[in-house]
Structure formats: structure tokens, C-alpha cells
Amino acid sequence: MEQDRKAGKVIVVTSGKGGVGKTTSAAAIGAALAQRGHKTVVIDFDVGLRNLDMIMGVERRVVFDFINVIQGDAKLSQALIRDKRIETLSVLPTSQTRDKDALTKEGVESVLSELRESFDYIICDSPAGIERGAQLAMHFADEAVVVTNPEVSSVRDSDRVLGLLQAKTDRAEKGEAVKAQVLLTRHDQARIDTGEMMTVEDVLEILAVPLLGIVPESKAVLRASNLGMPVVLDEPSAASRAYEAAAARLDGEDLEVRLESDRPRGFMQRLFGRTA
């Protein structure tokens, strides 16, 4: 991988609605891209409610943060925390004590352009909502991963966010598009089969954007957050396979979206060759 001439790509992980799996997804996708050999940094934009550090297991090592860098109190290199498991992975934590006004558009822009010089992928973990913090997280993005649950309020909020991505971002202001894809999380095939949950097709029909991946509801996600381990670094699971595939697609691989499962395929399913 030639790193000198290439400018890194900025990808925002966003959703509007809270609790749908943004931070889990940002950590997992970041770690999966790093495992593929790309220099990757994941940035926490949720000023005042930092959590990416816990999900990535670096919470005991935070000294300087994103806000210290923006305010000129620390160098970017001092605030970046190198992951101890994957050499190519770093975390830029946010401040736990300041408020969202500490983020400025100019500050975010200068940090991101400095990161673009030395990283291949810059993953911005957006706060929930569509206010200032969320808008700054998406503002300089080249691509967006819109994390959505197959549930009415999440799909509605995703639609709002998709609108903002194409109207209020730097690319939009320059007349360019932000490439946006949906990552469907907490997918539960059993509840889809009983008609309780909207299908992937239902959600895609409504949002009308491409599908980046389907992450099934999986015990592995809670386990990984308990351990402070991005889910792809923990033992293999349906969720880890789904995130690895999503990262491969972001990385330009042409992979078909599959529905992963933690359960071994049953006799009837094998008999009839059902895959999803």
C-alpha cells in the first residue's frame, strides 16, 4: 500500500437515532479495515459523552483528546491512541468534560486534513441526533455509513440523515455527492419470518440507497462491548463476519451481501438449500 501520495478517505458512521449501533459499527469497521492492512483511525465526535474509548478498550489510556488538539493544547500525534492489538489502528478520543460548542468547523477540517495525510481511512463516529455534533461529524465526509435498525423510528431518522448528507455537507456545497450506504443492524430473521419485523427489502425500498451489509442481532456484540474489543477482534461470530464483509465492500471489494447466522443451519434449511 503506497501511503505517501494517497489522501485518506473520510467515512462518517451516522444514524440520527441513538442506540442503533453507531459506535459498535464504527469500532468494528475501523478495526476490520485496519486488519486489512490499512492505516485507520476512528474519531469520537460525541463531545461530553465519550464512549468510543470504552468500546475500543482504550479508556484507561486517554491523556489528550480531539478538543485539546482543536484548541491547540496538544499535537494530534499526542492525542492519537495506538491500538495494542492491531498496529495499523488508532483512536482519537473526544472530551468527556466539554460541550459540543468546543467543536468548530475550522478545527474539525484542519484535524481531518492532517489525518488524511497519514491515514488511509478516517472513520468518524457521529453522535446521535442531527444537531451540531452530528452535522460536524458528517461535514467533511467522502462517504457515509447510515446505521439503521429495521424499525420505524430508525428508518425515518435515517431518511432525515440521508437528506442532510446530500444538502449540508462540504461535498454537497461543492455540488458533489456523498456516497451513502445503509448498514442494517440488529437484524432478526426469526422475527422477519413471523412478519413482526420489516425485511431488508422493505427498508431499502423506503430509503432508496445501496446496502453495505446486514449485521444480525448477535450475542457477540454485547460480549465485545463488555470486553472493550471491537467485535471483529473477538472470537468469530455472525456479527464479526458481517462487519468484515461490510469493511471489504467499503474497501472496494465486490462482495455479495450475505445474511450471516450464529446458528448452524438446520436440517430443513439444508434440505431446501435456504441461505437467508
Binding site: R60, R61, V63, I67, N68, K75, S95, S225, N226
Partner: protein
Amino acid sequence: MRFGFPRWTRKQDPSARAAKERLQVLLAHERAGGPGPDVFPELQRDILAVIKRHMKIDDDAVDIQMERGEGQSSLEINIELPAARG
């Protein structure tokens, strides 16, 4: 196979125990007020100022690492000194 025992006798998933321990350590630091948001930038400035009184060093020659532990925390300060000329 386990039967006849009420739920609460079941062992907690080890990952849940890890979660509780991590939270206890982290929240103990946060609730204690911990170092405020300006402590590290100020500490860094002070260290630089003291050393600069005695030798010439770069503004970004100080690297501060921290590891918050259960019983104790450690602060590691590395200062890069200029190479001897000659």
C-alpha cells in the same frame, strides 16, 4: 446439564464481569474528579518551560502517556532531548 437450581446461582458470564470491572475502575477515576480537562496541557507546558530553562528542546518533544489502574495509575513522560552535536 444443570437443573433444579434457581437462576441466581448461575455463574455470571465472564465478559459481564469484565464489563463491571472496567466500569468500576473508570468511574472511580471520573467521579474522583480526576485530572480536569486542562491538567495535561498545563502539565505539558510547565514541563517544557522547566526543561527549556536548562536546555534547548522542541515544543513537541514531550510525550505524555497514562495508564489508569485499579490500585494505582501511572503517568509516563518522555522527553526527547536534542542529539549531541559533533
